[in-house]
Symmetry: C2
Subunit: 357 residues, 2 copies
């Protein structure tokens, strides 16, 4: 079977890159050159624990407050990602970062110590998808040779910002999701990059950008319900635009829908005649063991990024899967919008990743 | 004289688009197809007042809180911008939005009522530059036919978030800047777009992306001092990368440095041998009359966007200038980082805009 970058047309390199108004092909297939993860202690104890590059010993990591910890984790993930490819900061054209902190300080404060041109992005927990899409555009369009996408989240900094003071220990309902303490960075470049090392089998071949969808769900302790329709919308559009069935992918992996949202998204897609049930996974259900007390699963900007770097990217490289559709989802509310009685708009960006040999 | 998209090489369309790791040429010269502004009452009373497309009668504009007002202003700016070009939402491939509210709700809540694929961005008050650059990449790379960039800020929503409750009426020092109540949207497309109307003389020809620079300035009532070094860094890099002197541009317009920051940026650039003094303007000093009590000038994500749409774009169209280098600057702190004793990192993205006939 041909990669998704070619399915929309047999003459792939000459066909338009744009499919409709939301989908894009990347015929040059930008390559994942390097990844790095810095995980929190709880994440280190989860099923992916041994796959993270670094597990920090405690949630402060030598800093006085969690916001600084998060920036430090992100900076280290970015630096080690670049160094892991044998590159230097000066080899990187652009750095995209995203986090959940107000005014995106996780990324901005990580970037201030790096001599790399910086572009902040925000799609909440869907940001890793946005970052991969914009990085791929930079590569495919010839605007960059190497781009790094870095995402971070910290359970304690996010919880006290979005909900209650962390020390209060408020009881969490079973629909709640646990924001991951995690930072992840990927370096994207051409397959012919001098930093390609022993080969770059994992490539970005296409993507579908999400519309913001608000179904009126208002409970910040049930973001899965708010995000599932956005995930279903973007995934359905992706299959339609690229003219492929869900079975084109070995696995469809949403980001952070959790146990509740995953079921809703599957139901919506199946009701549209899209048979996704046998291959639909979610990053929120991969990061922790359910016995770790995380209710409906994980969340956080770095959840899908961290699961991709530690697990999905590795699985593609090791031939466990050949094609994955990664679809990070984001809840676009804020503590202020919540207190003002607003619902939770959501978005989902889908990225096709394939092993090309 | 040739446009900046061509100066880096005489064979412009074949030369690399990438210049070093921070600058990009756009040989296809994406065109500004349409603009729209929605201004607050104070902004409507300023020197650009009659140039805004809409001036709202009061700071609430029929909403119960200022955050909702800001989203409404932004949504209207985006919709009227699209309609003004004779286009529909379905003609737009991607919408980039940015604002200063926590978790970027200004843009996300505007986007939820629009059926357009949405990508949130954040460079604080430099976001309009980031948006124009990413939109130009989408066009130049063939990933989109039409892209809208929308930015917003609201004095009262920002002031109570970043500093003190608005009703408290805290005295402001002379270095403070007044966040503008303003929303601005631009629609970018090809010169051959069916929505090009009577012509699209104003084009985006090149850009330089900023690095995050932190000089240790900590006073949120003096952001000009914090941002000036970032502005000088990006501008100096732009002149070097494109091999042009400051006099290549009829005007260099930073975004929101204010009276203090503008003087510092000029001094830094002149000390590097770059003669900018006779053509260096700043959006913060254009939006208000100094008698309006705005201390060192305006600020806000929409300041540079609004001044561009209402004044600079018009001036380029009307042949007042031929080439402008627009360099929005952003202070990347948050109320949390400030309370944790952190300094104010800053960034500046420069965009070359030229009249091409």
């Amino acid at each position: 079977m041909t990669p998704v970058s070619a399915v929309a047309s047999p003459t792939s390199t000459r066909a338009p890159l744009r499919i409709g108004t939301r989908s894009i092909r990347f015929p040059s297939m930008p390559a994942i050159l390097s990844t790095f993860t810095v995980a929190g202690p709880k994440e280190g104890q989860g099923p992916l624990g041994r796959l993270f590059d670094t597990v920090i010993p405690d949630t402060f990591y030598g800093e006085k407050c969690w916001e600084k910890t998060e920036s430090k984790m992100l900076k280290e993930a970015i630096l080690h990602c670049i160094q892991g490819a044998g590159a230097k900061e000066s080899d990187i054209d652009f750095l995209f970062t995203a986090d959940l902190l107000s005014q995106c300080i996780g990324g901005s404060f990580a970037a201030r110590d790096l001599a790399i041109a910086h572009l902040g992005i925000y799609s909440a927990c869907a940001s890793f998808g946005e970052g991969l899409i914009l990085a791929s555009m930079c590569l495919e369009g010839g605007f960059a040779e190497h781009v790094v996408v870095g995402v971070s989240s910290h359970h304690d900094s996010v919880e006290r910002q979005f909900r209650f003071p962390t020390e209060l220990g408020v009881q969490r309902p079973p629909t709640a999701q646990w924001t991951a303490t995690l930072a992840a960075a990927v370096m994207v470049g051409r397959a012919a990059s001098p930093f390609a090392g022993d080969g770059t089998p994992v490539r970005i071949t296409g993507a579908t950008v999400g519309e913001v969808i608000d179904i009126g769900a208002k409970d910040p302790y049930d973001m899965g319900t708010a995000m599932a329709p956005a995930a279903a919308d973007t995934l359905a559009r992706h299959f339609k635009d690229f003219g492929v069935p869900p079975s084109h992918y070995d696995m469809i992996v949403t980001g952070d829908l959790g146990a509740i949202g995953r079921r809703i998204a599957i139901d919506i897609l199946e009701s549209k005649g899209l048979a996704v049930r046998d291959r639909f996974e979610d990053c929120a259900l991969m990061l922790y063991d359910r016995r770790q007390g995380v209710q409906a699963g994980a969340s956080g900007t770095a959840c899908s990024g961290g699961v991709f770097c530690a697990y999905l990217h590795r699985g593609l490289k090791e031939r466990r899967w050949r094609r994955i559709l990664l679809a990070p989802t984001g809840a676009l509310h804020s503590p202020t919008s919540y207190k003002q009685g607003e619902a939770i708009p959501a978005v989902c960006h889908a990225v096709a990743l394939e092993r090309v040999e």
